[in-house]
């Protein structure tokens, strides 16, 4: 396991991908390797790209990679697609759009399935980001599928969240407003060649002017920009508008650094990670033991028969396990 982390730090792609897989497959003791990477993380800019399936996120990311490469930045991409709830399998198709970067050693793309975790984000994604960071990628782009409230947990991982919308989705915009609007740092109207782009632009401007993203304590505020990305049918214009988006993403990062929001976000991110780690090291083993020993089952039995209430049971378990 130590071996693997050393190889990741040396930039070995196979090792990075295997380590991510160990996280996904929940191979015991994977955290040992993650521990060793921890000090090498935290220096990359994490960019979340989210929006409905088919909104053109992967196509956009392909061009964004090109824009970053022009600036000589190295890029990691974690592309998350849903696991089929019926079979546990998944079709991960984001790479189709990014083929041209496959051989560039400055670019690492890894597809992940949600594996049934809530929030549209793979449970392993937070740690996978660490692995990509440790392998030396300066920009880490996380593509997540899905819409609505569930996406909110992406903010625990990303510094800059780009929400991609497409004209002509009608009511969806209403639904999306609730969740995504609160997490967006930048709005992108993709496929701006389509009917309704101007209407959507106006709607988003209104929302953007209302929702002030950021903490009110800071003197500087970030007004959420609304960017139009031209159709891929016009490659030059498309590339040009993605270059502008790339600059805007950079601007947002600089804003975070200057306004101290970066350290706030880091706090939020590490708090979430610590919570997970505590959950894993304290609750998980207890649950395991209760399950293995059959105690869980007998407790459930008691509850079903209304012999006792869950709170008293939990207190009893806590008294046994938790020493102050």
């Amino acid at each position: 396991m130590e071996e693997l982390s050393k190889r990741v730090l040396a930039g070995d792609i196979r090792a990075a991908s295997r380590l991510i897989r160990n996280l996904e497959d929940q191979i015991p003791d994977t955290y040992v390797a993650i521990k060793e990477l921890f000090t090498a993380t935290g220096n990359s800019h994490i960019v979340g790209i989210t929006g409905a399936p088919g909104a053109g996120k992967s196509t956009l990311i392909d061009e964004l990679i090109a824009a970053y490469r022009k600036k000589e930045k190295t890029v990691g991409v974690l592309a998350v697609d849903p696991t089929s709830p019926f079979t546990g399998g998944a079709i991960l198709g984001d790479r189709i759009r990014m083929l041209r970067h496959a051989e560039d050693s400055g670019v690492f793309v890894r597809s992940l399935a949600t594996r049934g975790s809530m929030g549209g984000l793979s449970k392993a994604v937070g740690e996978a980001i660490h692995v990509v960071e440790a392998s030396g990628k300066e920009k880490v782009i996380v593509e997540t599928c899905g819409v609505g409230q569930q996406e909110v947990d992406i903010i625990n991982h990303a510094h800059t969240v780009v929400v991609v919308l497409v004209p002509g989705m009608g009511d969806d915009v209403q639904a999306i407003k609730a969740g995504l609007m609160e997490i967006a740092d930048i709005f992108v109207i993709n496929k701006a060649d389509r009917d309704g782009a101007n209407k959507l632009y106006q709607e988003l401007l209104n929302i953007a002017s209302l929702s002030r993203n950021g903490d009110t304590a800071s003197s500087e505020q970030w007004t959420i920009p609304v960017m139009k990305v031209e159709s891929i049918a016009e490659p030059l214009k498309f590339a040009e508008s993605v270059n502008l988006l790339c600059d805007k993403i950079e601007e947002h990062y600089q804003y975070l650094v200057k306004s101290k929001l970066l350290s706030n976000r880091l706090r939020r991110k590490t708090t979430a990670e610590l919570n997970e780690a505590l959950w894993g090291s304290i609750l998980q083993p207890i649950l395991q033991e209760l399950n293995d020993g059959g105690e869980m089952e007998s407790m459930v039995e008691k509850l079903v028969n209304k012999e006792i209430d869950p709170y008293t049971l939990a207190e009893q378990v806590a008294q046994r396990y938790v020493k102050k």
């Binding site: 196979r14 998944a90 079709i91 790479r95 496959a102 597809s111």
Partner: protein, 132 residues
Amino acid sequence: MRKIRVLLAKPGLDGHDRGAKVLARCFRDAGFEVIYTGCHQTSEQIAAIAIQEDVDLVGLSCLSGAHKYLFPEVARLLQERDAEDIIVIGGGIIPEQDMPALYEAGLKAIFTPGTKLDAIVEWINTNVKPEA
């Protein structure tokens, strides 16, 4: 528990990926994670993607007759990159007389048109055992 990861690729010039899509769905339904990459990849791209994705298996399909060169090339590139543990299988219209050379080059199975999809899934479940 290891989940089997498969890369499906369709190198060569023919542009129909309907068959590959059907296979992708079939693999998903068998519980595999399928990295689906559409058509027209080069062997270099396929090898690079297989490594980045840490797949157990690369499934190549080719109808244009270029399998003779492309399939062995993918296997060779994986070997060159210390990734010979990634299994390579092929499918498509492959004449009987081409098969020995493909096996010689490192392919582990070749499925010709008419093979039942279930048989491919079964082959994978029998032969692909990702190490813990």
